[in-house]
């Protein structure tokens, strides 16, 4: 019995008559929806960035650091006492079933020269498995091999930043560079990886065979010494078992007694990052929740205006009732009017939210991501707000006594 197109037309007309009032009422919803979308975009952007950083670091990554030295009762902090060796790394690879790949690292800073260009950068001595541990493909050339490690050849892989600084646009493959005045052949270029979670430029690096670093570049305090060992577990579920297996293995290899502390630390970076990811998700939720408060306030604005409108149009309601409008005819008329306000506001809010988050991106340099879900959520929510806050005024209108309403001046 209820005629939706005509009711829609009636609603539109009523809203057109009070253009300014309708626009101001919508503004509440526009700001609410816009805020929800922009806030969710900022939050989702942050979450996505952290997820990207996790994957750029290498997934399922564990890092073994050497333990702390104690000098005259002063404990010097993790990494101060060199205890790890290439042999440890090989043992982990052999004996820990939860581990997929292991890469020992001996690194240092060195001056690098090519032609008349020079650049100071981090040089990392490692094994070929480093590339799989860190999920880091080559952009050009070839990786070094186990054979290169065995014979400590002077070959290197360059990060993009190093390439940019030494070679500019030239092709570095096959060229000789000098690291600490020793000539190295460039055999490969690493793909661009971008910033780490800590904001470091991960591309400002050179990879060389670990043995070359030990014997020719940095030296060791005992044979086979490395600074850290990077380990890739087989899967996320294997992170905890891998940690346990490595703990047991290294305690045994380092002859650590029952009550002695470890002379190494295992860090689960993935877990750390996942915690960070979790907390940004909570932040996103919080931002969204705060923004939806303004949507709620917008809804109250709609209710306010609809109540005014019902009072103003008491006589009109009386006329409609006299000529046969039923309870739900009247209710729907006002609900649709409220819904029209909130949905038009919702659409404008979506536009505002999208352009707002683009502006935030441009001005603050934050990455923002507008998910279709957040648009749907905000739009659906504004619809619900319209119906919810439109219902009471509509209900009030439908209960008017037609005789009283007809007499209303």
């Amino acid at each position: 019995m209820i005629n939706i197109p005509s009711t829609l037309r009636i609603s539109f007309r009523a809203l057109r008559v009070n253009k300014m009032r309708s626009a101001l009422t919508m503004l509440g919803i526009i700001i609410g929806v816009g805020a929800v979308i922009a806030m969710l975009a900022v939050g989702t952007g942050a979450t996505k960035r952290i997820a990207e950083q996790i994957s750029s670091m290498g997934s399922n990554l564990l890092i073994i650091l050497p333990g702390a030295t104690t000098a005259g009762g002063v404990r010097m902090g993790a990494g101060t006492q060199p205890t790890l060796s290439v042999a440890d790394a090989e043992a982990i690879q052999r004996e820990c079933p939860a581990v997929q790949d292991v890469a020992p690292v001996l690194n240092g800073v060195a001056q690098v020269i090519y032609g008349h260009q020079n650049w100071s950068t981090g040089v990392v001595g490692t094994t070929p498995s480093m590339l799989t541990v860190r999920d880091w493909p080559l952009a050009a050339g070839r990786p070094f091999t186990e054979q290169d490690v065995k014979s400590a050849t002077k070959v290197c892989l360059l990060g993009q930043t190093v390439v940019d600084n030494l070679f500019g646009d030239m092709d570095p493959i096959g060229q000789f560079i000098r690291i600490k005045n020793l000539p190295f052949t460039v055999i490969g270029v690493l793909a661009r990886k971008g910033q780490s979670a800590q904001g470091q430029d991960q591309d400002d690096t050179i990879y060389v065979p670990v043995t070359t670093a030990q014997k020719k570049l940095f030296g060791t305090s005992f044979p086979g010494m490395v600074r850290i060992i990077m380990v890739k577990a087989k899967s996320t579920e294997d992170l905890a078992p891998a940690e346990k297996q490595m703990n047991e293995l290294l305690r045994q290899r380092h002859h650590i007694g029952q009550n002695q502390e470890n002379d190494f630390t295992v860090r689960n970076l993935t877990q750390l990052m996942q915690t960070a990811e979790q907390s940004t998700k909570v932040m996103t939720l919080l931002l969204g929740a705060i923004a939806s408060v303004s949507l709620l306030v917008g809804g109250i604005g709609i209710m306010n205006i609809m109540l005014v409108s019902v009072t103003e149009r008491t006589r009109e309601i009386g006329i409609r009732m006299a000529i046969g409008a039923k309870t739900w005819d009247i209710r729907l008329q006002f609900i649709i009017e409220a819904l029209t306000l909130s949905l038009i506001g919702g659409i404008a809010g979506i536009i505002l939210g999208i352009s707002g988050s683009k502006i935030i991106s441009a001005l603050a340099g934050w990455s923002t991501i507008i998910s279709p879900f957040s648009i749907l959520l905000a739009f659906g929510f504004s619809g619900i707000v319209g119906i919810f806050f439109g219902f009471y005024p509509a209900y009030k209108a439908s209960l008017l006594d037609p005789i009283e309403a007809l007499r209303y001046e």
Partner: protein
Amino acid sequence: MPIIEAKDITKVYRLGDIDLHALRGVSLTIDRGEFVAIMGPSGSGKSTFMNILGCLDKPSNGEYILEDIDIGNLDRDKLAAIRNKKIGFVFQGFNLLPRTSAIENVELPLLYDGIPARERREKALEALNKVGLEGRGDHHPNQFSGGQQQRVAIARALVNNAPIILADEPTGNLDTKTSAEIMEIFVKLNTQSNITIILVTHENDIAAYSRRIIKFLDGKVVSDERTVKA
């Protein structure tokens, strides 16, 4: 054949501690096709009686039967449906929707009866033609004179083929000449379309158009005379 049967209708309003007896037992029957004028001073109960006839209000006691339907037992929505199909209202103040074209005003009862748009438009145009407003459907009420607005209101009362038109002082806001024109329309509808017309008025000139005059005083019918007329 009676279209309206009122049996011993009373209406009591409670105003604080006082009971106000607006109607004190009114019984009358009106046949299909009658043209009735209801007269009486203000406070005589004639407006209350009209509201009950129009199914806008229910009697406190007594029975009101309209086309064999006992109105006393109906709920709000059923009453609305009866008003929609059986009764056309014409008010003193016209009561057209502002900012709404004449044709849309006339279509309104059909809208609430669920008639499809095309049919609504046709019937509304036909009703406007009957009251002499051909081609004026797109005008808005504020572009019309009082007499023209009342014609639109009459068209609205006609459009759903209601057998009864209730007119509450339809000429109260109009000058003499326009009043006569409006009354001629009522007479035409009564004689040509056999529509039962019940009209409330103060003026004897207007009442003279009817064929039966019922006078109210203090909530009772004090006289009910048929005037001999063509």
